[in-house]
């Protein structure tokens, strides 16, 4: 066996080829279950309809009424945008998948083979999302079209660009938070109740349930947590709730969270594997 001294360029190409192949293989895997996938995608649109009914009852079709700066039309837009943000940031099965692979020992594969588990799972997730967008694009367009009367017009292009950037970063933050929770299984074998608590908290703290403006009087630190980037931040940017001159800072802080969470993941993985191998593999 010859191990050639690879140049930096070749090394990089080999790594990119691997990421691409993981992505491709995971897409193929996803498509095996396309019917189930399409159905669960459709079911996810139901809550938005009930939310709209709920808020229309609260506002009683009074278009002049506002709540912390949201009128009825903006509230509807907020939910539609949050739904979009969650399509990027939610990671169904990621934490539980990592936790169960640690519990049942299949995590060994990543220790024996020259692959990086987090990188592997990341590209797996990208594939998952891409397939999801293809299937969900139709229903998404339909819901937006049905609610078109409530939607404000397109904002200025820098705002739209900031929205897109924030959406993409919300994917990274969602991935990193859920991966981190899954990695806790290296210390506590049973993490399902922890995951449940996280889901509940993030439902509130991300702004998925109600806009964070309505929460901040009770939870003043809510703006300093990473959860706001899972739902609230992209929607607030698009609705102009964040002044344009503050957008660079908003995105910068989001990027800093990605770096912090990335480092935490690396440390947790490294320590976790050490612990795992000193407890019996």
């Amino acid at each position: 066996m010859t191990v050639a001294t690879e140049s930096f360029g070749e090394e990089l190409r080999a790594r990119l080829r691997l990421k691409w192949l993981i992505l491709r293989t995971a897409i193929e895997e996803r498509l095996v279950y396309r019917a189930d996938f399409a159905f669960s995608t459709l079911v996810r649109f139901l809550p938005i309809v009930t939310q709209i009914f709920l808020w229309s009852a609260i506002f009683q079709n009074d278009t002049a009424r506002t709540m912390k700066g949201y009128n009825f039309g903006q509230m509807v837009s907020y939910y539609l945008l949050v739904m979009m943000a969650r399509a990027f940031s939610s990671m169904p099965g990621l934490s539980t998948g990592i936790a169960s692979s640690i519990a049942d020992g299949s995590v060994r594969k990543y220790l024996i083979q020259p692959v990086d588990m987090l990188d592997h799972l990341f590209w797996h997730r990208v594939a998952h999302k891409l397939v999801y967008y293809v299937i969900a694009a139709g229903p998404f367009a339909l819901v937006f079209w049905m609610c078109r009367a409530h939607l404000p017009g397109w904002p200025a292009w820098p705002v739209t660009a900031a929205f897109v950037a924030s959406l993409l970063m919300s994917f990274a933050i969602g991935f990193l938070i859920e991966a981190l929770i899954g990695l806790i299984a290296f210390w506590f074998l049973e993490v399902s109740s922890l995951i449940f608590i996280y889901m509940m908290l993030s439902y509130f703290l991300s702004g998925h349930m109600i806009p964070l403006e309505l929460l901040s009087q009770w939870i003043p630190f809510v703006d300093y947590l990473p959860f706001r980037y899972l739902a609230y931040a992209p929607a607030a940017i698009m609705l102009g709730k964040i002044p344009q001159e503050q957008l660079p800072m908003e995105l910068f802080v989001q990027a800093v969270w990605i770096v912090v969470l990335f480092i935490l993941n690396r440390v947790a993985f490294h320590r976790g594997v050490q612990r795992y191998s000193s407890y019996g593999g």
Binding site: I22, E28, R108, I112, P114, Q274, Y279, G280
Partner: protein, 331 residues
Amino acid sequence: MAAIEVRELCREYKVFRKREGLMASVRGLFHREHTIVSAVRNVSFSIDEGEMVAFLGPNGAGKTTTLKLLSGLVVPSSGTATVLGHVPWKREDAYRRRFSLVTGQKEQLWWDLPAQESFRLHKEIYRIPAEDYTRRIDELTDLLEVRRLMAQPVRELSLGERMRMELIAALLHRPDVLFLDEPTIGLDVVSQRRVQEFLRHYQREQRITVILTSHYMKDVEALCERAIVINKGTVIHDGPLAAIIDRFSRHKIIELQFSDNGCPEGLERFGRIVETRPPRVRIQVEKQRVSECLATILSQHSVDDISVVERPLEDVIAELFSTDDASRAAT
């Protein structure tokens, strides 16, 4: 040259001890008692390049822990080991590209996709050049007779077929060292034999270094000349497989064929009767009494045919470990 060098390797585990009863459980919330269990104790051996060695021992003897140590899944409590010059538990990519671990569980293949998709991924993970990849796939699928199953989702394959696919996945990057942990567990006789034949052929052809653990002595006898016997974490024998019988078997088998179509009474006084099929009898006799017994039998009965043979390896091993269990239970 030694491919695997293990020196005084030890591995201890902390095991929590729970006493019986509710009160004990409540106390356990505040104060945990634990005992230290040694899974591997002062294990030393050295395996040359191209050797194929069997690890034998009862369940819980420390075989799997040793394999986990050598694959870098477990860090030792003390001692050293090098495989191909690498310290396994450092988990360097340079080492991970040169070995494979195959266990009886499904491990490397994507369940919902055809095996060829997993193989293609392995090509990139292990950076196998395209022409080598194609050649090896051809060769391995032919040898294991699974070419026609390449496009079928793995979950639709039988256990034996899946095991053969796992072997391909493990060998695609042409590892220099292969650890096989119960590779034929749960397989039917035909698949078992096929895997066995393949391993023998492949190992001879490629001269790779192999450590094999198996409960099927047939596997071991077919594949390995050298065996390391481990019990309770320590090596109790390291040498030719055949020497195990010499060393640990206290008995031999005397096979007799009597000339008058029946069997005489009272043969039990020589030893345990293993099989009676008149006019043939097989008796298990203590080694040092063999000649004495033969003389007595020949002087008292008319015998057509007589031979003295070794006991099957399987029996010797089973006896070795069960007497050990018995003595452990007695203490």
